[in-house]
Amino acid sequence: MNAVAHKLCMLGDFGVGKTSLVARFVHSTFSEKYLTTVGVKVDSKEVALPGHAPCKLVLWDIAGRSQLDSLNMTYLRGASALLLVADGTRERSLHAALNLLMQSRTLLPDAIVALAVNKLDLVEQWEVAPAAIAELRRTLPVHETSARTGAGVEGVFADIATRLAA
């Protein structure tokens, strides 16, 4: 059975671990230099979902920045899902992720959204308070991940794939 492809854009401030999450999730076809030249790197991975047709996630890893410019907005076009990534050790990165969500909503009002608070392996250094995460969970799915250890990585992508297939 052919998998249905969905475009998933990853947004987040510089250094939050978007590319590392993708690298942990897929075997990349393209070099990371595209991130610094073109501003995006695209990979894909087919996700098997119990009870559903397989789902193929086409991951658009958009270069990290706190504001979306016009080029980045064009990269978002046609996306079915957004994965916001924040660095748990930098609270400002969480604000940047939420700001990016607000900007992208004008273009993608119906896109599925999830938040990955990364660097779970450094949880003792987190600036993001558990209360803030709990508050955020009331409005959008929040996953705590570690690209270094792989904790939560498969889960966040599986969650998005499941919601896309539903």
């Binding site: 995006v40 790197k41 695209v42 086409v58």
Partner: protein
Amino acid sequence: MPASLAPAESGDGDRVDVVRLETPCSPADDVPHASAFDRLKSILFGDERGTLAALDARVEKIEAAQRELPDRLPSAIERAQQARMAKSLARPVTEALGSAVEQNRQLIVDVLFPVIGPAIRKAIAEALRNLVADLNGAIESSLTPRGIRWRVEAWRSGVPYAEIVLKHTLKYGIDHVFLIERDSGLVLDRESAPQLPDLDADAIAGMLTAIGEFVRDSVGRDGSGTLDAARVGEHLLWVVQGPRANLACFIHGVPPAKLHAVLEQRLEAIHVALADGHDAADETVRRSLHPDVLMRDARVAASAPSAKSRWPAYLIAFIAVAVVAWIIAQRIRDDEWVEQVRASLATHAGFVTTRIERAGGALNVHGLLDPDAEPLDAAALGGARPRTPLKLDTVGYVSTEDTIVARRARRLLDAPASVTIETHDGVLALGGRAAAAWVDGARDRAAWVPGVRRVAFDVAREDDAVATARAALAEIARAMPSKLVAFVRETEPSADSAAVLDGIVADAQRAAALATTAGTPIRWIATGTNDDPGSDATNARVRSARAQWLADALRARGITNVATAPDDDALARATRQRAAFLRLSDATP
């Protein structure tokens, strides 16, 4: 004051019933008056008042709906059945656009200019790019043997030469074809050539879309440019842009321009299918994107004969036929010329043709030539073909032709002009008169002349004075025809003709004296000649006029025994110069 019914009169005296209402004097009078008025209205209109109230309510409802229409219209349009709405709006929207174009032409132009301008530039740039590619291919191969062979193929097939060049020179292959959704960059469909390693089509299509956006954002100043092609070494990427989907074609080698046209047609067909609700992954669409199918269609498109290209083929065919006909005609003329040369040589006494051949653009004539024969004139033999050199290769031999034997006998016997020499079938006949000493010597030597089988000697012996006079007279008669009075044109003599004429007059006067001594009356014949050009009639007239001119000139100088030659003078015909000469009449003894 209450209302009352009262009769009233019109101006013309007719009586009518009207309701007359008195105007109230104060506000306090309004209430009783209004209620009375209502009663009056109920009396007058009865049930109609209810109808009016319903109509008022309905009008109010409609007006309220109209007031709310701007706010409700967007959601109403969204809820409406799109296909039906589009169909309903097609005609009024079309008419509105037409009316807008008529009334606000400049405004429409200003609005559309940013869209139309880039589209036109893109079309022109693409056409020029294809043209340059075609010209380069055609120029590079136009003058080679291979190019000539392709021209013949183009002529035979009716296909433009440039496309034949492309067909033969441009080797290419299609590796992958991706149908990519324009906005998301997701792969709608893909086909790859067999035996190629698998690749992550979704990732490639996404990156390709991203790079396209990046290029447009970076380079396209007005935001309308698109990434249509990219080349790395011998690998080429063509991206054909469509409103909903793009077609990306990964090619190795140099594809023909027709392939791009085929891709464009294929993408248009896909858009039509998508608009009709078909799936992009439909089997028909998938099959139409297969590399082999695309390359086959490009080949068919490239080899399809074009009506516009027919006339060059016809022109080339006509030229080819004309050239072949010209070559055949030239060959026939050459053969006729060679036969003329051969016939002319056959009449040349003392010459035998052994071989005639064409070599190096010249006509080589090989043969045997007697030393006593007239020398061969190659230029005269060439005649009608002055540009084709005629080369003579002769070897000496002894001819037994009567003319040559007679000439040889006269040379070897040193016969005076008064002696006649004729040969016939090897028999040498000598006649006339000669000095006694010559007669005695010649009688013995005549039989030794090569080619003479028998001698018939009948030469009368003369005393020395008469014989000398006759010999001198014969010598003058022999030499006289070589004195040619030349003419510039018609009967206009050349500058040196006066001196020649003086020489002729002197010889004629001396011949008259010798004739008296020899006892032989003489008579001269004036003969006109002409060169080759001109019709026969014109040349005959000119020859006659020149002969007459010479006769008149001689008579004017006292030479009266001159007549003009008949036009069948063989010597005159052989001279081939614009001239006149004098010869002794054959009737002279």
